[in-house]
Each structure stands twice: as C-alpha cells, then as structure tokens.
C-alpha cells in the first residue's frame, strides 16, 4: 500500500479498517500500546475503587459499610486486578509496546499480529475476571494467592478467576516473546547491545522472566482447576496432596512476577534521570547487568513467602540468604541513579519529581523487604499489615510512580499535546503525601500485630486505620488532579510542536510527535550511546528565551 504513510501520524493513519476496528484490529505497536493504556487504566480505576472501599470499611472496627464476605471478595478482586490486569501489563505492554521499537530504531515489533492477539487475550481474561463478580455464587474470596485448601473448598466463583489468571498469563508471555525477538533481530544498524537505552535492557530482562516463570503459575492454576473439577488429588490434603507444594509452585512464579513489575519501572527511571540531569548515566553497564542479575536471582528466592509453613531448616536458611542477596542489584541501581544527579544540569519538571519519588518510596519498600527477609522477624510480621505496607510501597510507590513518571515523560511524544506543568507538580505532592499517610501506618500496625486480610480489628488499632483511610482520600485527590490534567491537555486544541521538550538523546525524541506508522522516514544508523550529551550550551540558551 502507500509508503507516504510516513509524515502521517499513527493516530489519523488510514489503514484497512475504519472507526473502532482501525484500533482493535490494528497491528501497529503504537496503537496497541494505547489500547493497553486505555484498558489497564480502566481496570486500574476499578481496582482503586475497591481499595478505596476497603479503606472505608476499615475506618472503624466492626461492620461499617459492608459485610465480611464482601470485604473478602473485595481484597481478592483488588489483588487480582491490580497484579494481573494493571501492574504487570502496566509498563511493558503500554510503554514497552509504544516505545521499544522506536528506541531501537525499528518499524514495529517482530510479530505484530501476535502482539494484537496478546491484547485480545488480555481483554478476554479481564472480562472473565469481571464477569465472575456477577455470576451467582459471588466473586472469589480466596485472596489473590488462591491458597489450597481454601480455594478448593470455597463455594464462590473461584473457577472464572483462576481461568482468567491463566489466560492473562499467556497474554503476558506473548508480549515477552515478542520483545525478545524484536530486541535480538530488529535493532537498527549500529545499535549494539550496549548502545540500547536502559529501558530496553530492563524490558529484555523482564521478558525473560515473563517467558520462563509465567508458565509455572499457568499450570499450577490449571491444576487447581482440575482439582476443583475432578478432584485429581494433586493438592487436596484430603486425598494426600500437599498444600505446601501448591504454595511453592505459586511463588515460583509470583516472586519473579514482582520483578516483572519493578524492572520496567527501574528502566523508566534510568531513562528519565540522565535526561533531566542532562548528562551521561553513571555506570551504564552496571545498571544494564543488574537488571539481568535481578531476573536471575529473582527466580531463587520464592520461598521467602513461606517461612512460617514449616519448611526444612535448610530451605529456610538458603531462601533467607538468597533473599538478602537479591537486594544487591537493586542497591547498585539506586546508587547509580543518585550518582547520575552529581554535577548534572538538573531541570526539575514533573517526570523528574516522579522519578525521585520512585527512588524514595521504592527504597522504603525495599528496606522493609529486607526486614521481612530476616527469619526471626518474619515469624512475627508475616501476614500482618506490615507486608501489605511493604508491597504497596514497592508496587505502587515503586511501579505505580514509575508509570506516572513514564506518562509525564512521554505524554507529549505520544499525543502531541502538553499538560500543565504546575498542576502536574501539585498532583505529585498530593500523591506523595497521601501515599505515605495511607501506607505508613500499616507498617506500625503490622509490627504491633495487626494481621492482614482482616475485615474487623481490635480497638487498639483504630487510630492507625483512621489515619490510613484519610490518607487514601488525599491520594485519590492527587490521582484526580493528575488525570484531569491529562484529560485537559488531550482536549485542548493547541498541538504541541516541540519535538524534544526535555532535551533527550534517545531516538524517540528525534522523530515527530505522534510518530508515523513506520516511526522513521528511513531507519537511522546509530553511531553513539543513548546518553552521550555532547555539550549543553544550547539547553541553557533554550531555558532563557
């Protein structure tokens, strides 16, 4: 067909299809990226609402707005949605799809049709998860971990939830597969592995985890399905099965999964910091390899979720030790990021704020992870709200803020519009303050012995729950400020013409906003690394006028 597709933006490019089909049948990685953005945000909104309602219930002891059964289903759905439907596809499928090919100078991913298929699988899985709410029997109430034997005893709609998770797993696998082949085969001439932007490196590491770890949870959930359907006895203690084995299999995937969530966010941070400090990143290779190291070690620590089930001493020892070692690559990253700010020429726009927010919150989350890794301490705080605080700090303080940072960073390139910078910053401060008010009390409570997944609690914990709930209100305010800011920008008639608002050196800034179907008029030849800032006089000049 026509090759003059070039200058035409991917948004108003006329393909085979028109109207909605031009999107849901498009194999253009950018359109698929936006499809994912819309759908993850939709599910995210649902998850947030559930979280918000849970907080309301917990504002005071006893029943306040819902009964125990509802609460149990709420945190289950909240967990499933946030993990499988929001945070895992959040970065790779949205920003990975949109920018990976551009960052390595390619026209598209290696298998565009497969890419579309994985989005359809995602939608299918998502719908299944949502439908289970309305079927008779009510939504699953097992917690997102589906622990046996409760998950084979529960009379709620556990089946749809399990199958949904299974399908979503495959969607995630296909994305990973696509990325690995793309990175290996479609790099522009001159783009050696060590000239790839660090976001690409982190996606590469992530993709490997997606491919190798996800099938394990796939088969595990499938076995639970069989267990419920035919009673094959593989896990059911009544038939001699071993629930602990289920936990092992579940975490063999679900711990690496947490690195599927964080690695791409770390990649985003590694993009943003050098751009806003306007200097080379500190220790490129160390950051690149630490991603691979995290992927490797991440597959060896799963049993730190099971320290209280009564594993063998050997297992306790090994897994605790490995858990501490997995922290090292993250440490290396953090230190290199901070060092990158040194002697930079720092421009404090919203993306940088979010990046620094990420470093702070993720560090807190990470450190508390270490606390949980210590065997004796874990005996006390396992399955308390301390854990809940930990993973919200890493997942949402980490990855969540990473996604925000990415949104603010790439927004002008994706939509050719610009948001209001001042509002964006206000939004950040609301989120930041709200976040800590919401989750920090959970650490304290957890240490004082407040178990998690509790619909009701002892009066002595009231004050902390109260503060936390108020925090959730501040947080939501911030969220609303941020997203209205984006919507305003999208609505505004004025298109944003600056190609390179932040003065970045990676390829996406060299092409038009809302890139054309093939991204590049002709494939560039790469001669330098991604963050080689020659001199930044012109930036300073730009600042003045």
């Amino acid at each position: 067909m026509h090759n003059n597709g070039n200058s035409v933006s991917f948004l108003d490019y006329k393909g085979k299809h028109s109207g909605l089909n031009a999107w849901i049948l498009s194999t253009d990685h950018k359109r698929i990226g936006l499809l994912y953005l819309m759908s993850t945000l939709a599910f995210f909104a649902v998850g947030v609402t559930f979280g918000f309602l849970m907080r309301l219930e917990l504002i005071a002891p006893g029943r306040t707005i819902m009964d125990a059964q509802t609460y149990n289903s709420l945190f289950t759905l909240h967990g499933i949605i946030m993990i499988f439907l929001f945070i895992i596809p959040g970065l790779p499928a949205v920003f990975g799809n949109f920018f990976l090919p551009i960052l390595i100078g390619a026209k598209d991913v290696a298998f565009p049709r497969l890419n579309l298929l994985s989005w359809w699988l995602y939608i299918l899985g998502g719908l299944l998860a949502v439908i289970s709410v309305f079927l008779p029997g009510g939504p699953a109430d097992t917690g997102w971990t589906f622990y046996i034997p409760y998950s084979i005893r529960s009379t709620t709609n556990v089946m749809p939830a399990l199958i949904a998770a299974f399908i979503l797993g495959f969607s995630s696998i296909l994305t990973g597969l696509n990325f690995i082949v793309t990175i290996h085969r479609l790099r522009a001439p001159g783009m050696g592995f060590f000239r790839m932007p660090l976001f690409v490196w982190s996606l590469y590491a992530t993709a490997w985890v997606q491919i190798l770890a996800t099938p394990i949870v796939g088969i595990t959930l499938l076995l639970v399905v069989f267990e419920r359907a035919f009673g094959v006895g593989l896990f059911d203690p009544a038939l001699g099965g071993d629930p602990v084995l289920y936990q092992h299999l579940f975490w063999i995937y679900s711990h690496p999964a947490v690195y599927i969530m964080i690695l791409p966010a770390m990649g985003v941070i590694s993009e943003i910091i050098p751009v806003f400090a306007h200097r080379t990143i500190f220790g490129y290779k160390f950051i690149a390899f630490s991603s691979l190291a995290i992927a490797l070690f991440g597959s060896m620590v799963w049993a730190h979720h099971m320290f209280t089930v009564g594993m063998s001493e050997t297992a306790q020892l090994i897994f605790s030790l490995l858990t501490f070692l997995v922290a090292i690559p993250s440490a290396i990253k953090v230190f290199n990021w901070v060092a990158t700010l040194y002697k930079g020429s720092i421009q404090t726009d919203a993306p940088l704020l979010y990046a620094l927010g990420f470093i702070f919150l993720f560090s807190i989350g990470g450190f508390t992870g270490l606390i949980q890794g210590a065997l004796s301490v874990n005996m006390h705080i396992h399955d308390t709200s301390f854990i809940v605080a930990h993973f919200h700090y890493v997942m949402f303080g980490g990855t969540g803020f990473g996604i925000f940072a990415a949104l603010h960073y790439w927004f002008p390139k994706m939509f050719g519009k610009m948001y209001n910078m001042r509002t964006a910053k206000t939004g950040f401060w609301f989120l930041f303050v709200g976040f800590n008010t919401l989750y920090f009390p959970l650490f304290v409570m957890g240490w004082l012995g407040m178990p998690r997944r509790y619909f009701d609690y002892l009066p002595e914990f009231h004050i902390y729950h109260l503060i936390s709930t108020v925090g959730s209100w501040i947080l939501i305010t911030g969220l609303i400020i941020m997203f209205t800011n984006f919507v305003k920008a999208l609505r505004s008639k004025s298109t944003y013409t600056k190609l390179n608002p932040w003065g970045g050196e990676t390829l996406e800034w060299s092409i038009q906003n809302t890139p054309s179907l093939e991204n590049f008029d002709e494939i560039p030849t790469i001669t330098a690394g991604p963050y080689e800032y020659k001199d930044n006089e012109e930036i300073l000049v730009k600042e003045d006028n």
């Binding site: 085969r185 190798l212 049993a303």
Partner: protein
Amino acid sequence: MNSEHLESNVEHKPTYGIYILVWLVLMTLTGVTVAVAGINFGNLTIATALTIACIKSYLVLTFFMHLKTETATFKIFVAVAVLFLLISISLLFSDYSFL
C-alpha cells in the same frame, strides 16, 4: 543484521542419512530403557532411566531440531531455559529432601 539472516538461510546440503541414523540410535535406546527397567538397581533405576532419557532428548534437540546448525544465540537460549528448570527443582528439594 540482514547479513546475519542471509547466512543463516543458506545451510549446508540436507541429507536423509544422518536423521535415519539418529532414529535408529533413539530406537535402540528405547529398547535399552525398557530392558533395563526390568532389573532393579535400587535407587539407580530412576537415575539410569533419566540418563537415557536425557541422551535421547539431546539427540532430538541437536539433530531433529537442528540446534547443531543454529547460531550460538539458540544454544544459549536453550541453556537458559534448562538452567531455570534445574534451579527450580534443586531449590524445591531443599525443602523436601532435607526434612
């Protein structure tokens, strides 16, 4: 990149012989496992069975699945996948067999 893919497209002359040979070996190995299974080496029984299975899969991978003629990337990939499974099973058994 293009050059890479060109050279990977022109492989040396294909021949039937080698594959039939491999097939014969696989058959004999199957026979061996069945035969050996009868005798009881105690704990070694499963070990031998698995060793033979590994040899067989090695043959299938290198010849039938052409790993022999593929670029290094493929070999590394397979190694990574196998490594992952090995890590999983050995760490898993740190719980079960040291109770």
